[in-house]
Amino acid sequence: MLALLAAATAPENLSTFSPASPAAEWTRELFVLVAAITGGILLLVEGILFYALIRCRRRTGPADAEPPQVYGSKPIEIAWTLAPLIVVFVLVLLVGRVLWEVRPDPVAASAGVQPLHVTVIGHQWWWEYRYDSYDGRDLGGIVTANELHIPVSPPNGVQRPVYLNLQSADVCHSFWIPRLGGKTDLLPGRANTMWLQANEPGLYLGQCAEYCGTQHANMLLRVVVESPEDFEKYLAAEAKPAADPTDKVALANKEAFRSQSCVNCHTVRDKQDTRANGTFGPDLTHLMARKTIAAGMIPNTPENLKKWVFSPESVKPGCLMAGFDLGEKDMKAVIDYLTTLK
């Protein structure tokens, strides 16, 4: 059964039983242990019940004499009060131990520890990521959406714990990557801290785990764990302003985008000016660096982008992005511009 629960291969695997982080490992071990204890109790109870069911039947008719009436027994009662109390006491100690393991105090940067701090802001129905600092370095200004990149932290190497500062722009959400450990909620008006640390590079999936309205089901999470080198490259790329078009067509495309109401909700960090500075929707500065759009729902291809801009409702019913019928020419210009945002 355990093998079955852990079987699927990454990244489609969201099993809490195939941990890829210290917290998820601790949790799985606790789970297995508690499941074994409770499973033992279950077998005991069902065993007694079925034994009684088979052995203690009224075989003859109702005229049969009543069985001996046993009113109770103090020693037995005390025994089966104390035994569970002992089990409970041990379990509470175990849980306390694991609780402090999976929710450790944040560690500051030092030799052998390179913490990453990211502010995660939940929105209906997408994720905003603001990189704060890495290994003591200020990263202010890197803003992205829906795909979180973090550096790997191999069990026997430099520790790269990730501390997420969880906030919400609207309603309650919950950040949960099953293979990287338990979930923590994002509450409006409250900042929660969550610790992530991934043993191996790869793509880890999850999704919002607190009901947050119409499209709760499609508020998907993607965490890309990469080597420290790749991660540095990612940070460098994300820190840059948007690609600057050089040729005439591209400039016209950019102007087409900037003249649409896209800029009211979306930001494109640009050397030229801050016309596109909306914050209601995801930051688009490096849109094409992301593999998916609509919070992980569909692959980020020009066709899908077009479909999404034209009618988000057909992709994600109830979502808060408005559809824009820009006409053939402007639509092509806008999509062409978006695809340059690498």
């Binding site: 699927a8 606790l30 409970v88 099953p178 450990g181 979930k183 499209q215 089901a217």
Partner: protein
């Protein structure tokens, strides 16, 4: 006119009263038995409504990406399903059965406050109607989940009046429930027949006493929270309006301070029902009555201090988490004591496997699983992983169906002969039992695995890359196996009114006072107020050579 009054025309004895008279009698009744039946009928109707929503959701989740039920409708369905099953099925059916049985079991002629009793039923009923009225308002029913986390319920996110219908409906029905709790406390404290000290009440009565205390303690916080919500929505207050400095966290504490004890309000009466049925059908006295009684009180007290185990993922401190872990674990001890005592009652008995006992055995074998997954969930680190997933959905359905509903079916099969004077069909009951048991397991067992594999609850669909399809398909098949069992139950209830065997006063050879009067009992219950000497007065009467009171 005068002569007519002196010499009335003798009415033909056989002709039934016109249906309008019967209707009028039921609508204005203050008889605890009729009110009890009304509660149960209301609950059965809402059981079918809530069940229909569940079937629709299960069909939608059959495969990834289905568009059978649109997202908003799906979210409205799970909101109504949860609200209905907790407030308009669970509580009314338990209160209704207790309304019928408690006065009879303590040898009383009615509840302490018959008019308040009727008031309680009608407010509960109209509260339910008010919630369902949301179908007629712009925007339709609320899509907030049954625990309605703020600020999703605030004007900014729920613009239509659906949430208002929901909140006001729950306030109104909550008032009804509270009066019911007060009424039970007064009845059990003041109306017991001579000789029945508080230590000698039937176990179901004892449990209803403590459940009622719990109702009176935890319904007001819910009413307060709902009122604060309505202040926010209608009067511009900001209790939970996070955009104006309100607190989402506060709502969660207020709601779960009600919400967790509510689980015990839903399951304790079932414990009481099982404690009546198991002894009678094992032909043995309840093992360890005093310990069972103490365990009941312990559950009530401890369960008032466990609510934040619903909020482990909300980011409380580790110390606070550990407190709620310990409290939650502790509440499993008295629950375990109860289970062991039921097993000890069965053990060494001479089991009679009639329908009430089948459901009671279903309870014993299934409730323990829900209890044990509760212990797993009480471990905060595990809860961080599987809370708000299908693992939790499986857990609480295992408690509320495996516990409450099996207990309720057991009680209904047990007391139906008393209520109607007819036996339910054993053949139909067996069909119902097996379809229900198998369907229930097939529906909810796979949900544990879906949850462990990362499937959150309350999602209207999932991507085809998710490994959850097979578990959802098994669950949906289970739901379709379960569905006919409810129809058989409804059919059995109706058809046995005419076709059932005549029950007689005491068809189960039972031991508590309700079986000493006729079936159905007369409006006044007992022609002569009974006098009892032990917890099993009818045992004493049937075994004068070896009565209970010698041992108690």
């Amino acid at each position: 006119m005068a002569t007519a009054e002196i010499e009335p025309t003798p009415a033909p004895a056989a002709s039934p009263p016109p249906w309008t008279a019967t209707l009028h009698e039921w609508l204005v009744t203050v008889d605890h038995k009729k009110i009890g039946v009304l509660y149960v009928l209301m609950a059965v109707v809402f059981l079918f409504l809530g069940g229909a929503a569940a079937i629709a959701m299960r069909l939608q989740l059959w495969a990834p990406g289905l568009t059978l039920v649109p997202p908003i409708t799906f979210n409205q369905f799970f909101t109504l399903h949860g609200t209905t099953m907790v407030f308009f099925v669970g509580m009314p059916i338990l209160i209704g059965i207790a309304n019928y049985a408690v006065p009879l079991q303590i040898g009383a002629r009615d509840m302490a406050f018959p008019r308040m009793n009727a008031f309680g039923f009608w407010t509960t009923f109209f509260g339910a109607l008010l919630v369902y009225f949301s179908f007629l308002v712009p925007g339709g029913p609320p899509a907030i989940g049954w625990f309605a986390y703020a600020p999703l319920t605030e004007n900014s996110f729920a613009r239509g009046p659906g949430v208002d219908c929901w909140a006001l409906g729950l306030i109104v029905s909550g008032i009804g429930t509270t009066t019911g709790g007060i009424n039970f406390i007064a009845t059990i404290l003041c109306m017991r027949c001579p000789g029945m000290t508080l230590r000698k009440v039937p176990f179901f009565v004892w449990v209803m006493f403590w459940t009622s205390i719990q109702i009176v303690v935890v319904m007001p916080p819910l009413t307060a929270a709902l009122t604060m919500l309505e202040f926010d929505r209608q009067l511009g207050a900001h209790f939970f309006d996070t955009q104006a400095g309100g607190s989402a966290y506060l709502w969660q504490h207020l709601f779960w301070f009600f919400g967790h004890p509510e689980v015990y309000i839903l399951v304790l009466p079932a414990f009481g029902m099982i404690s009546e049925v198991v002894p009678v059908f094992s032909r043995k006295v309840l093992f360890g009555y005093e310990f069972m009684a103490a365990a009941t009180a312990a559950i009530v007290f401890i369960s008032l201090g466990v609510w934040a185990h619903h909020m482990f993922s909300v980011g409380m401190s580790r110390t606070l988490d550990l407190f709620f872990v310990a409290a939650t674990m502790l509440v499993s001890v008295p629950t375990g004591i109860k289970l062991f005592n039921w097993l000890a009652t069965v053990y060494g008995g001479k089991l009679v496997l009639k329908s009430p006992m089948l459901f009671a055995l279903g309870f014993l074998s299934m409730f323990v699983i829900g209890g044990l997954t509760g212990v797993i969930l009480a471990c905060a680190p595990i809860d961080f992983q599987v809370t708000d997933t299908y693992f939790v959905v499986a857990h609480f359905h295992w408690v509320l169906i495996g516990g409450t509903l099996f207990g309720v079916f057991s009680a209904i099969h047990y007391w139906y002969p008393k209520v109607t004077g007819r036996m339910l069909s054993e053949r139909l009951a067996k069909w119902q039992f097996w379809l229900f048991l198998i369907g229930f397991i097939v529906t909810f067992a796979p949900m544990h695995f879906a949850g462990i594999l990362g499937m959150p609850r309350r999602i209207y669909t999932y991507g085809s890359d998710r490994p959850w399809e097979i578990w959802n398909q098994i669950a949906t098949i289970g739901a379709l196996i379960q569905a006919p069992s409810y129809l058989i139950f409804g059919y059995n209830l109706v058809v046995s009114l005419w076709k059932g065997d005549v029950a007689g006063d005491d068809p189960w050879d039972a031991w508590t006072l309700e079986w000493a009067t006729t079936s159905p009992p007369p409006p006044y219950n007992f022609a002569v107020v009974p006098v009892v000497k032990s917890r099993r007065p009818l045992w004493d009467a049937k075994h004068p050579d070896d009565p209970d009171w010698k041992y108690e």
